[in-house]
Structures are given as structure tokens and as C-alpha cells.
């Protein structure tokens, strides 16, 4: 029986031998194997990134009841939501607000992270681990929880920060009640949460700069500041720009801190893209317009990513 079977298979196989061989070769090719090994990741990316993104674009073209395309006055069919957003003062306020928030928070995180990394780098290895662990704590606590803590510290009646300020005879600050203070509070909490990430990335970058370069610079006549300017910063440029890009993306899309701390208030003046999209899409039940709001993040971030990654590639080619 078995012999018959194998005969039956081998007879037609001789005719199509070439094709079977090329199929085998195709399956053995490194690129084919690589494709199959990355397939699970590709499925995840398509399922969790590409599909929702495509669906988001589709949603943004619908009307409020999601029954048909949204018509605009002068934009073609389906782009009406965008036309309305372009005409809305609140939306432009959110754009401006998000940019101010992301840029100032990322800048502060980068500066503080750099300063912390430098401090840590100069502590002897034994003590360094302890400090590194402690300084990482803000980053490992889920931000929704730590923000609750901050919210309580900013509370007008029980504010621990105001209590300390009062001790030094400084008047109480309306942390979350006044728009500029509310914006500052959101930024403070975001910086507190995000700076350790910069610190750990910069610390790794600092450790990778060979000591001999500093010694060569010292002999060449560089002061401490000049070593930072001409050796440390250029050597860290790639890590700095990639970390800034990562953080810019995450900060731009930040939702939880604004949501927990101010919920967009007072008077919708502290909304960023994500919290505004949630407000419009979920709370006001206009999912298509909420989708349109969140889609605005994409082109802004894409432009940033383009320039940052171009710089990284250029430096890589030159130095590595």
C-alpha cells in the first residue's frame, strides 16, 4: 500500500520536478525564512496599527450618525469634519496647546534628563545603581496613578505644595484653577513622569563615549564646557534625537495626565489632541469628528520623524 502510494506520488513528480525544486529553494531562501519569522509581528502591526489607522481615516469621513459621508461646503465629499475643525477656534486652540505642551515638556525632560544623567555618570558605580533605581521610580509607576497623587497635591483645599509654600510665606497657587497654572501643572507632571526615561537613555549614551576622547580633548586644550560642547553632545546626537522623537510622539499623544489632572479644564483651555479627541468623539458622541481630531497628530509627527531620522541616518553613515 505504502509502496503504491509513493509510486503514485513520484510518477507525476518527475514531470513537475523543476517546479518542486524551485519551490524548495524558495522556502529555503533566507529572505523567505526571515519573512515567516517576522510574520507574527507583522500580523500584530497590521491588526493593532494599520487596521485601526485605516479605520480611523474611514471614520473621519463619516457624518455624526455614521450613516453616510460627511458633506462639506467647499471641501469634497467626506472631508466635512476637517472643514468644520479648520473653522473652529477651540480646535486651533488645541493645536497650539498641544504644540506648546509637547515642545516645552520634551525640552524640559531632555534638559533635566541630561543633567540627571551627568550627575549619575559621575557617581562611582557602587552608589550609582541605587540612585539610578530611585530616579527611575516616576517612570515605572502607572501615570494614571501617580497623576492622582499629583492631583491631590495640587488640590485647592488640601494642596501639600501650597502648604509648603505657605510655610515660606509664599501665597497659595491656584494650580488647576487658572489656565496658565493648569498648563504648567500638566507640564510639571509630564516632566516628572518622563524625565527618567531621558535620564536612562542619556546615561547609556554617556557611558558609550570612550574616555580616551575626553582625555584627547583635555590634552587638546578643552575646558569642561568645551568637552561637553565638542565631544559629549556630538557623540550623543543620535541618542538625543531619537529619544526626543520618541518622547515627542508619546507626549504629543498624551492623554492620561491631562484627563486625570484637569480633564481639559478650566474652560477647555488645557486640552491636547488626545483629550480633545476623547471629549469630542466619546463624551460628545461624535466619533467621526473625534477621529478627525486625532488624525491631525499624524502629519505633524510625520514631519518631525522625517527630519530626526534623516539626521540619524546621515550621522550613522559618517561615524559608525
Amino acid at each position: 500500500m505504502a509502496a503504491d502510494g509513493s509510486m503514485a506520488v513520484s510518477a507525476p513528480a518527475t514531470a513537475g520536478n523543476g517546479r518542486a525544486n524551485s519551490l524548495q529553494r524558495f522556502a529555503r531562501r533566507r529572505s523567505t525564512i526571515a519573512f515567516f519569522m517576522t510574520l507574527p509581528l507583522l500580523v500584530v502591526i497590521v491588526g493593532l496599527v494599520a487596521y485601526p489607522a485605516g479605520y480611523g481615516i474611514y471614520l473621519s469621513t463619516l457624518n455624526r450618525r455614521m450613516t453616510s459621508f460627511m458633506e462639506g461646503d467647499w471641501l469634497p465629499t467626506g472631508l466635512g469634519n476637517f472643514e468644520i475643525l479648520f473653522g473652529s477656534d477651540t480646535f486651533w486652540m488645541v493645536v497650539w496647546q498641544s504644540c506648546i505642551f509637547a515642545i516645552s515638556a520634551v525640552l524640559l525632560k531632555a534638559l533635566i534628563g541630561f543633567w540627571l544623567a551627568h550627575m549619575l555618570h559621575h557617581i562611582p558605580t557602587k552608589g550609582q545603581r541605587k540612585w539610578r533605581g530611585m530616579l527611575l521610580i516616576p517612570w515605572v509607576i502607572p501615570p494614571a496613578l501617580s497623576t492622582l497623587g499629583w492631583w491631590w497635591m495640587f488640590d485647592p483645599s488640601y494642596s501639600a505644595i501650597n502648604w509648603v509654600l505657605n510655610v515660606f510665606a509664599v501665597p497659595a497657587v491656584p494650580w488647576l484653577g487658572e489656565p496658565w497654572w493648569a498648563r504648567a501643572s500638566v507640564i510639571i507632571v509630564n516632566v516628572w513622569y518622563g524625565a527618567p526615561f531621558f535620564m536612562i537613555m542619556y546615561l547609556a549614551a554617556l557611558k558609550s563615549v570612550p574616555d580616551q576622547l575626553y582625555e584627547a580633548a583635555a590634552i587638546d586644550g578643552a575646558t569642561g564646557w568645551q568637552k561637553l560642547r565638542y565631544v559629549t553632545l556630538p557623540m550623543m546626537a543620535n541618542i538625543i534625537s531619537i529619544t526626543v522623537l520618541f518622547s515627542l510622539i508619546v507626549t504629543f499623544a498624551n492623554y492620561d495626565i491631562v484627563r486625570v489632572l484637569t480633564n481639559g479644564g478650566p474652560r477647555d483651555l488645557t486640552h491636547v489632541f488626545a483629550s480633545y479627541a476623547f471629549q469630542v468623539g466619546i463624551l460628545s458622541s461624535n466619533i467621526p469628528r473625534g477621529a478627525a481630531v486625532s488624525l491631525f497628530m499624524f502629519p505633524i509627527l510625520a514631519v518631525c520623524a522625517f527630519f530626526v531620522l534623516r539626521g540619524v541616518t546621515r550621522r550613522n553613515k559618517e561615524q559608525m
Binding site: 570612550p210 580616551q212 582625555e215 584627547a216 583635555a218 587638546d220 586644550g221 575646558t223 559618517e318 561615524q319
Partner: protein
Amino acid sequence: MAQVSLRKIVKAYEGDVQAVKGINLEIDDHEFVVLVGPSGCGKSTTLRMIAGLEEITDGEIAIGGAVVNDIPPRDRDIAMVFQNYALYPHMSVYDNMAFGLTLRKFPKAEIDKRVKEAARILDITPLLERKPKALSGGQRQRVAMGRAIVRDPKVFLFDEPLSNLDAKLRVQMRTEIKKVHQTVRTTTVYVTHDQVEAMTLADRVVVMNQGIIEQVGPPQELYHHPATKFVAGFIGSPAMNFMPARLEEASGALNVTLANGTSLPVPDSRSARYRPHVGKALLFGIRPEHLTDEKTMDKDNLAPLSLTPEVIEPMGMETLAHFRQDGAEITARLDPATPAEVGVPLRLLAHMDQMHLIDPTNDKVL
């Protein structure tokens, strides 16, 4: 350009580990001095103390007559070439070389002149616009030297600059370094573990071992008149042979008697020097090149010696024969025509004019 003086220099690390144990060294203006020794002998630490990269625990370093103990590297007017080149990867070759001058606020035209002149000397003019990544090891080493030359410093410091290069390039760069020193004549301190580099480059060689200076002298002097067993064994390749022996006197003439009873006559010229040590157990030292076969050109003061080769290494221009005698490894450098065979006793001649006797109690060469 300047003299460099090290006076009772000590470097101690935590836990009282002394890397350098109070060394004294005077380096003259224009001199090329090589610090050589095995790893951990303190030579690099000494160089780094001269550079100011390492703190001095005790003692005094003076460059050009001025004590520099508390002066930071940037104000010592020195230039250093590192083992790993330490070129700034984000700067072009030109900028790497110009960096020190830019920091010192030299006029642009002057910087340009100096960089181009150094590039010409080192033959790297076509590479000036490249980044270090696009250079080979030898080219990077030239750029590192260029960076030192443009500064026109008082002292050049080289920290094992050739050890990352392959053997062929190392020989080539060695010649380059010598040529450069003949052109610019800057006082140079050069650290290496390679005794061939030390011998070929140096005006004076400083042999260091375990944090102390064993001997200072011109290469030929170290080769012919080593002061200690360490120097005798360290300088020269293959290393000097040491055999346990006894100095004996018979009818007015001195003989070195080896453990197997072979008696080798000491030349008359050495008799006075060695006579006080008659009867002592000593180490007989002789270089492989002074153990030859019978076709040797020398006629005087030869002593016959019979040894059985264990390993024969034909090198082309010479043949190395390895023997074992009374527990000591012995190497002889033979003419390639010598019919040496493993296991067959070979009659050799020891050139007793070149012999050394070492007192094993203090390792000093008598």
C-alpha cells in the same frame, strides 16, 4: 620644546597598591625616550602622569623647568597619541587636526597652514576631508600624529601607538615615527611593551619592571651591558639564555662550569671583574645569537658546547634550535645551512666575549 624631569614619582592606588614606586628620570630637550616593560610595569601610568591624566601621589614632574604637578593637561603644552587613536568620529580629518588650535584661538590662516604642513609631512593631504570612519588603521594613526604635530607642543607623548596595527604596518609606521622625529625634533616620551620598537626608535630606552626603573641607556648599551637579569632577559629576541653555573678557578684561569659538567673558559679580559665571585653559584647568560655552529667567523674566545635539539624552527634567514639543559630552556640562532636534527647532539660554540654572569641573590649582572 623642553626637558622633562621626573623626581621621585610615586603613583599609589586605593589599598596601597603602588603602580609607580618613586622613579627618577631626566629627559633632555629633543630626546626620544622609550619607556618599555611588561604590562603592569607602570610605564603607561608614568606617561599619563606626565600628561596630567593621572594624579601624582608623590614626587614632582617638571616640563621645561616648571613643575606641572597641579597644572591641568590643557595647560601643560603637550600632545599625546593614544593607542586607540582617540580621533573625534564626528569631525573630519582636518577638523580633528585643527581642534587643538581652534580651542587655543589661533587665527584661521595659521591653523590652515599648520594642518596642511602636518598633512604634507605625514602624507595624508588627500584624506583631509574624510571622516575617521573612512580611514584604515595606519591612516588613523597618521591623523593622530598629525593632531600632535600641528600643536607644536613642548613634548610628544605616545601611548603604545602601534599596538593596534598589523605586523607589517607596525614596522612601516615605526619608520614613519622615527622620520617625523628627525624632522620636528620635539622631545618625545614613547611607551611600548615591544622591545623591538623600543630599540629601533629610542635615543635612550628606559626599562621598567614592577613600578621601578631597571635601567636607562642607549639601545646598544642595554643590549650589550644589561644591568639586571630582567633587562638581560627582556631586551633581545629570542630572549637571553640563562643556565645555572659555578665560577671556578683552575691554574690561574677562570671557568664557568655548567650543571652537566661542561666547563667554559672565561676570557682573560673578564678575569679581574669576575675573580671575586669564584666559587659562587651563578647564572650564566648568553644570547641565542652568541651560540653558533662551528662555521662561525669569530675565532677568539669560543667555547665548545654539546646540546641535543628538541625543536628546530627554520626561519629562512636563520634557524632557531631549542634545547633543554639541566631544566633550563636554551635557544640558539644557527646558520640555516647547519645540519641540525631533533634528537641528534649538536656541537655549538659559545662566544664567551658576549657572556654574562648574574648573581641569583640580587639578579644583578656582574
